[in-house]
């Protein structure tokens, strides 16, 4: 394989691995901060313990997030030197700001971790969680603007092959930025709500029915429902953004070939040799509504684009998977809330199983979404400006690097899972409640 293909594989692998930890890094602090705030407000030590335990697991995941984040940061220069050269000229501002946001987060994470009992008033300790939330969220925002720039580059003009008239802020707030940021943030938050809910539900399923778990589950499910709705709204706005600014990406995901109004939304199915859609569920008008907000909206089809500038058609399945999982998250949390409101048996094993399942599913949705976002931009690395193949390194040995880093990611996954399991097994909630003399 040539260096470009190998570089793509290595980058995909690194990003796919990093995004798991990055999502946890962005979302979990919000829930930790929420739990601690609620615990202080209600004077309920269970929530405080929740914040403590989540933090303990969070540190491990953050460490892996930091190293993989450093990896992807450096790898972009090593594997895509031409790309980074251009990025340096036009969109380096948010990259630079991202390091500040992360710096800020890192400092306060250190403080938060080691100052649980150092302040006279607990609320001071809670206050140190705010910079962590701000830092991690802004890290995500800044980095997402760079990715948005790759989809809809802006803030410069090209004269005789030279970049001129560069406007860093316009580049940063390019057309893709608002919807992309909203979708990335809301989906990170919702994934973490379901991750923590899944863990609580799992413990309840295993017969550990301390009220600690029930409180954790209720809290995360309320958050999960709100955030799942927010993610759906952000996703809908992203669809409208795509229809207007990056129509080929939406068209590829929807197997939408002919430009038309009252376009149907296609679920599942397959394409035969003549690119005819078979076996799919067609929801009339729905694609026009998703893209333009009205059935009469005209959706641009894939046939308007040259064949060598179309993204691959398997994107359809990724898109469908993401949407289905998103809907599942809304449904399961809604059912939970209705059952709770009707005062029925909330701890029904089927309900709990459904919630446990939601945790891995939401991570799969994140992966599907990112693959869709990145592959959907192909063959461009910066849409309309630079082809992916042109940007790759000319150096050999990418293959070696690929093997080494694959092994590293595999090892890190296994060890971190192992470490996390042992960490929490060794100190169960019940034991810790007893040690801290928390009796309610």
């Amino acid at each position: 394989m040539d260096s470009a293909t190998l570089s793509r594989i290595l980058t995909a692998e690194t990003l796919g691995f990093h995004i798991i930890w990055a999502t946890i890094g962005v979302g979990v602090p919000v829930l930790i901060s929420l739990a601690e705030a609620w615990g202080i407000y209600k004077k309920d030590p269970h929530y405080i313990l929740m914040a403590r335990r989540w933090t303990r697991g969070f540190v491990i995941t953050v460490a892996v997030g930091v190293v993989t984040g450093t990896s992807i940061g450096l790898m972009l220069s090593l594997l895509w030197p031409r790309f980074m050269q251009l990025v340096g000229n036009v969109i380096s501002l948010p990259l630079f700001l991202e390091t500040f946001a992360f710096f800020f987060e890192a400092i306060f994470l250190g403080i938060y971790l080691y100052s649980w009992d150092r302040f006279k008033k607990p609320v001071y300790h809670w206050l140190t969680s705010i910079p962590i939330v701000i830092g991690s969220t802004f890290s995500a925002i800044f980095i997402t603007t760079v990715n948005a720039f790759m989809n809809t580059p802006a803030g410069f003009t090209i004269k005789n092959g030279e970049l001129t008239n560069i406007q860093p802020l316009t580049a940063m707030f390019n057309p893709a930025t608002p919807t992309k940021v909203a979708h990335v943030l809301s989906s990170s938050y919702v994934t973490c709500a379901f991750l923590l809910a899944g863990i609580a539900a799992y413990c309840l399923l295993r017969g550990r029915n301390h009220s600690y778990y029930k409180k954790a589950l209720k809290m995360t499910m309320i958050a999960g429902f709100i955030l799942a709705l927010a993610t759906a709204v952000a996703g809908d706005l992203s669809g409208k953004f795509l229809a207007k600014h990056v129509p080929e990406k939406l068209a590829a995901a929807e197997w939408h070939f002919e430009t038309q109004t009252k376009a149907p939304l296609i679920l599942g199915g397959y394409l035969d040799e003549n690119n005819e859609i078979k076996g799919a569920i067609q929801i009339p008008w729905a694609l026009s509504i998703l893209g333009k907000g009205t059935p009469n909206g005209e959706i641009i089809g894939l046939n308007e684009f040259p064949v060598d500038e179309r993204p691959p058609l398997y994107l359809h399945y990724l898109f469908d998977g993401m949407v289905l999982i998103g809907s599942y998250l809304i449904i399961i949390s809604l059912v939970f809330l209705i059952v709770w409101w009707r005062k029925k048996n909330l701890w029904n094993p089927w309900m709990l199983r459904g919630i446990v399942l939601a945790a891995p599913l939401s991570f799969i949705a994140i992966e599907l979404g990112w693959i869709y976002a990145e592959v959907g931009r192909q063959p461009w690395i910066i849409r309309g400006l630079m082809y992916t193949n042109e940007a790759a390194t000319t150096a050999d040995n990418v293959g070696t690097l690929l093997v080494v880093f694959s092994l590293l990611y595999l090892a890190l996954t296994l060890i971190s899972i192992f470490v996390l399991i042992r960490l929490f097994r060794k100190k169960s909630v019940e034991k810790e409640l007893e040690e801290r003399r928390i009796i309610l």
Partner: protein, 338 residues
């Protein structure tokens, strides 16, 4: 002031910050592993983990900051160094990943493991060695540009160059010296007498090799890049100051006096040497291909970065101050009472 000078000064200052904080971190990892081998870990490991725990993540950011900053201010470096450094950079990256994650596994993962400890200790030596090759490459002679603009890295030249090895050696002994000097001070503040004595001995032990390694680097540079060498001679007083600071630090360590001052002298020793080296390296970022003028980004972006940097400092300095106050200058925390 000119944009390129502001840019490179900011970046160089951050790199200096990384050299200091990362050296403390790398060396501490090595010492803690070494003390485990010699069964002295019960004496010094507490002091080390007390210091490292809250700050390790911050260390990493200095490095990320530097390389993001250099791509921002001098985009051409991304192309040249990015192409050339695929393998050395990949190795450094691998080691950094191993180190960061295994630190967390060992530290927060509830159980002490010899393997985690080993990885953590040894990467502390290999990372500075591999990172230092970037500075070596910047002296020129290890990268060739072909007629059609492609960049070719010459690994054999790098591996057989005496200059390259002198830099690696200097990096290693500096890491151990800086770290031991700091840890001595920290143990002293923690009123941990046995740890203090051991760490002081380490610091004194590594001070001599530091001076020798510096002289070796000078001589090797004369062979490798005489222009740069003569530029350094023009500002020889800077390097003499560095030597004086080093001797002062050794004097204070020896007589167990003013250990805080002693560590500040070590920082000054490296500040003089590092900025002296950087100043005489100018205008080249990569000899002879990129200078700070030729590699500079457009001025709009450059000034945007400078403004972002100043705004960022307003946020970071108070936060860093809070971190240091809570964990470094809080006698009660250092002593382990809280």
């Amino acid at each position: 002031m000119q944009l390129e000078i502001i840019g490179i000064t900011v970046l160089w200052t951050f790199l200096y910050g990384y050299v200091i904080v990362a050296s403390i971190d790398f060396g501490a990892g090595f010492f803690s592993y070494y003390s485990m081998l010699t069964q002295k870990d019960h004496i010094i490991s507490r002091v080390i983990s007390r210091y490292l725990s809250p700050v390790w993540e911050v260390t990493n950011v200095f490095l990320v900051f530097f390389f993001v900053g250099i791509v921002g201010f001098f985009p051409d470096t991304a192309y040249y160094y990015g192409t050339a450094l695929l393998i050395p950079g990949g190795i450094a990256l691998l080691l950094l990943s191993i180190r960061g994650s295994f630190y967390a596994f060992a530290n927060y993962g509830a159980r002490q493991s010899r393997i985690y400890h080993f990885l953590y200790g040894m990467t502390g030596l290999f990372i500075p060695a591999s990172l230092s090759t970037v500075l070596t490459i910047s002296e020129g002679g290890f990268i060739r540009q072909t007629g059609d603009g492609n960049i070719i890295f010459l690994p054999e030249t790098l591996l057989t160059s005496p200059y390259s090895w002198s830099v690696v050696f200097l990096a290693l002994v500096s890491v151990l010296f800086i770290s031991a000097a700091f840890m001595t001070y920290y143990a002293y503040k923690a009123a941990d007498r046995p740890a203090f004595e051991i760490l002081r001995r380490y610091a004194l032990f590594w001070s001599g090799p530091t001076i020798l390694a510096s002289i070796w680097v000078f001589m090797a540079l004369y062979q490798h890049n005489p222009t740069h060498f003569y530029n350094m001679l023009d500002i020889a007083w800077v390097f003499l100051f560095s030597l004086v600071c080093c001797l002062g630090a050794i004097y204070l360590l020896w007589w167990r006096k003013a250990l805080g001052c002693s560590f500040i002298l070590v920082m000054l020793q490296y500040a003089f040497a590092f900025f002296g080296y950087g100043y005489s390296h100018l205008p080249y970022l990569l000899y002879p291909y990129i200078t700070v003028q030729s590699g500079l980004t457009n001025s709009t972006m450059g000034w945007a970065l400078v403004i972002a940097f100043i705004a960022g400092l307003f946020l970071l300095i108070p936060s860093l101050f809070l971190l240091l106050r809570l964990f470094l200058f809080s006698a009660r925390y250092v002593r382990g009472e809280k």
